[in-house]
Symmetry: C3
Subunit: 451 residues, 3 copies
């Protein structure tokens, strides 16, 4: 029987991998190990609990993994797996759907949605824990947890590993979440994108801001099959919270030992029409290179043909193990969110982010953000000020994409100044109103100082 | 473990809200209260039972509510949720589907179907209890149970309440079932239809016949947002089984106190092309009117935009509570039908309906009736004679729509007369054959007396 | 709790009905009887086990039957029921899907797939037991088990029964599996195909080879409704493993007693455009014929209109019972594969089949075979040599369709000969390389002897 007495005092969600502290993640790994030791031994743990999978975008793999995890915990599953066959076709908002399904139908929700930031919307409106099962190009944190867990089990650590990310780094939300997490755990990242599919700028900026990531050219040696990508290889190393990157100016890194190659498929559904003819392909000869001797081959699956079937029997290929470990990892996560497993570690400190403020003026620049799509009808936009940024940067409260506020007004006097004006510094934080441009300030009825 | 020893001596179904007596409904409310007190405490009650949801029309909300209820009772769920992906695509009849699935697959069936009367077909052919999850424009009785239960909990009673029904009253089967139930419980109904979407005549006629409903013009005062609808507001009050409407001639009723406003969305999938631009919209200012001070705002959901999101936080808004209460209400219903909960109250007396008689001649006039659609191949049409109606009225045994039989023949003599002829009164009931017209009688080989 | 200690020492699959010995099938019938005695008494037997239904082709009936069986055993169910909404749409191979889902998600897989041989692919790649839920036009063995079980219960035996197969015998995989099983159990088969929809040659050949089936003209007497088909009726009787067909030359058999008529619908989805206007139709008058007095009417369902609804109440109609018995039959099968029920009988001896050999040269001639479709990318073709066939016959390791190898080469000398050359007999089995034609041998770089 489920009681919430053991659950975290306030409801917790997993929308972004940043919602868990590094220590919490490691604790979850140990719990996952316990679950994995005998997957069939837990069918009483969450008896009576119900998980709802709300999938507004198809994903058999992720959905089945969650459903298996919940059944193995002894709980029940209800599922709305086909976006078209749902109330959404009748015009219902995500906020309404999660309030209904999270009302008495289910005790925990897993949401997949095509719009960036949708999972945050679900988490805000639902009264039960929400897990992000992938929201647009934003994040897919449980995939990241499973990837980290697999790598951690294989290598015994994450710090200092050399992890190559290969293929489509632009549209793969999996890659984005994974990058943040690798940087946080002190692993080094080598990006080998298929040309045109580089890591987006906003991901790079976040890596730099939050983890002090420095970038260098990576010399990869000969990696057959990945030729086109290796010309553009970049080496990313975090300088915080770890003190690993001691060099002050990093320009060129020779990578002689690869710990893991993380391959991704071309997300064809997200970039139709673009040429992927020379997409990298991992083969036996790639894995014959000296630097890959101890490398693990990873892939979030489904694979199309970017990894040769010949490699399936190679003991270094662990992509099926990644999938296998997804079940105990998700069991650990859900058991925790439902109050059946305790974590002793502290929660993440979100020091760099100040509380959000609702805005009638600012609009998220990410066209795929839910605030610019299905949320237009009902969401109050809000933005969070990044600490210590000049000009001030404001992150969308849903999709986390940032905008620059070059003008700051005073809520009472209705006068706005350039962000670096003395008047701004004298304005109390709670009176500051942020604008991207003069035009925006004027449209909101503010007078521009000095104009 | 499920045994049927505790189940009602004969199988019971819930096809129409009329299938339950008023006292039974109130008993079910009390059982629902028990389930609701701790939703997680019942996971052994129906262990081993299986519910099948057969949804030939999409409805995530209703399906998930039933599935959650069954899981919370400890039972299992199998689901055919997509009409196209089923045996139906191969040409299978509903009668065959329910005989198979209700054979050994499942212990209780929930059926949603686009054709009026489909749930009655399912109930007749299946050997296990059938619950109507919505059949065409006919009924949706569990929604009605949940609505009544919510209102009853909020107001402590149903008798004498003033309930406003607003929006699309024509195509909403929810509204139709709700009207019958409100009249039965002695609540007064104010209809405020969007022009062109009034209650159908056959619903009004049934309200008059079964509950002696009288109609008056309703003066609603100023209700911003509902302006267009309020011009046509009608006040419906039942004179039986209650003796509330004591006035003999009711012409105009001023409504100064509203207990509930039940809002419905435009059922766009049922009336494409019709203009819904000025569809009523409930806002904060509507709810600022004096008459709405203690009103509850209800909605069967999904909402599109006929209730402002601003109202979500208003304590009088109970549409999400309606959805929440659906789970314990459905738990109570299913536990009863599966024999795990007993009702002491008497069943409804169906005094006004005589047994059905199969007909080769008569045809239901409701073009959406299952007898005129998928049942053409295999259903025997039958009609039930309404007691005390002149000319005689016959209700379709499936969709309950009535036809008038102005001619009555004698099965042996093959002679037909006008319904009010002396010869008809002398004909024994079992020898009477009913016709809508002379032509119909002649086509069936009857001679018209006096012609 | 599931432990695999009771499971068969090596994983067993049910891809073909031939994967079970006759004695094992009879044992499973007795277990099914036990399950059926109280369907609700087993909800602890497979507690903790998870079944995944992977249906790449729609089939509500089969899927729901399996899901019900698993729930009645106390296990859990995860389901990917819509081919389009799955990873397959992203280009994933069946081999990858079953490795993922059979990794930690599920303990047993049920696979339905449109391509012949797909279930064998699933069985080879998955580490958990795989049940074939229908693969293209290949087999549907659990349907066969249910059919046999029903007939066995009705008639008390299978040996010596006279079973009429009627309708579409060409595209119905159900019929194919059923034929093999009837022959094996010593039942006699009367084929009454709708003209143009006869049993395929490869089915007849297998019946002859494996069961020594002899064919005669069947004189059926007058069977109204089946007229068109009865002109072409053939009588099939097995001479092994039973010694029933003692006559040396069988030319004409008069069938005066029919034990069962197995009717099938036109598989319209498999032969669009072909005329089925005079498709046979079983009616009351068919069943009035003297020879059908004790006949049972069977149908795999869904029925379209090839059996009159009037026959539903006839006690000889057992098609709904077939469906009903499917659940306990599948419970028995799954309980066995999961190690919860033991079989004492010996497994089938696959004496007639030699181990498979991978081939770069040979290609399966069945265009619907998975090796010619989605498996092209990754499957290694292999073929199994049929013992004692001249010219040598090789069966596709997936779909079992045979090809003739008229030329045999020597792996070392790279010289090929006609299959009946002395040199071939002197070549060790492991050095033989098989070819269908001279051209094929030459294309593979072999020299033709004597050319």
């Amino acid at each position: 029987m489920i009681d919430r007495s053991m659950a975290p005092a306030e409801k917790r969600d997993l929308v972004s991998i940043e919602d868990l502290s590094t220590a919490e993640i490691l604790e979850l790994f140990h719990h996952a190990d316990e679950f994995r030791a005998n997957l069939h031994a837990w069918s009483d743990l969450c008896r009576g609990a119900i998980m709802a999978t709300l999938f507004f975008e198809p994903s058999t793999r992720t959905r089945l993994s969650f459903e298996s995890a919940m059944l193995r915990l002894g709980g029940g599953v209800i599922s709305a797996a086909d976006g078209d066959a749902t109330s959404r076709a009748k015009g219902e908002s995500l906020a309404d759907t999660v309030r209904v399904v999270g009302g008495s139908y289910a005790d925990i929700l897993v949401v997949r949605h095509p719009e960036d930031g949708a999972a945050r919307v679900a988490a805000r409106y639902a009264t039960v824990p929400v897990i992000n099962g992938g929201d647009g190009a934003h994040e897919h944190p449980t995939q990241t947890l499973c990837d980290l867990y697999t790598l951690w089990k294989e290598k015994g650590r994450l710090e200092g590993l050399e992890v190559v990310l290969c293929g489509d780094l632009r549209y793969s939300r999996t890659i984005h979440s994974f990058c943040y997490a690798l940087a946080r755990f002190g692993a080094n990242i080598v990006t080998m994108p298929y040309p045109g599919f580089e890591l987006p700028d906003y991901v790079m900026q976040r890596l730099q801001r939050d983890y002090g990531v420095q970038t260098a050219v990576a010399a990869m040696g000969d990696l057959p099959g990945l030729a086109g990508s290796s010309n553009a290889a970049a080496y990313l190393t975090a300088s915080k919270p770890h003190q690993l990157a001691l060099f002050t100016k990093l320009t060129n890194v020779e990578v002689n030992r690869i710990d893991a190659i993380y391959m991704t498929r071309a997300q064809r559904e997200r970039h139709e029409g673009e040429d992927t003819a020379n997409y990298p392909r991992l083969t036996r000869s790639t894995m014959g290179a000296a630097s890959t001797k101890d490398a693990r081959v990873m892939h979030p699956l489904p694979r199309v043909d970017e990894i040769d079937y010949d490699l399936d029997d190679d003991p270094r290929s662990i992509y099926f193990r990644q999938a296998e470990l997804g079940v105990p990892m998700r069991m650990a996560l859900m058991a925790y969110l439902l109050g059946k497993v305790q974590l002793r570690a502290s929660r993440p400190e979100l020091l760099s982010i100040m509380p959000g403020m609702p805005s009638d003026v600012l609009r998220c620049r990410n066209e795929r953000c839910i605030t610019n799509n299905e949320g237009v009808r009902y969401l109050k936009r809000d933005f969070r000020l990044r600490a210590d940024s000049a000009p001030p940067k404001l992150a969308c409260g849903y999709c986390e994409r940032e905008i620059e506020a070059r003008f700051v007004g005073h809520a009472q006097s209705r006068v706005a100044h350039r962000y670096n004006a003395a008047e701004v510094r004298r304005t109390k934080a709670e009176n500051r109103v942020y604008f991207e441009s003069e035009a925006q300030a004027q449209a909101a009825g503010f007078t521009l100082a000095g104009s």
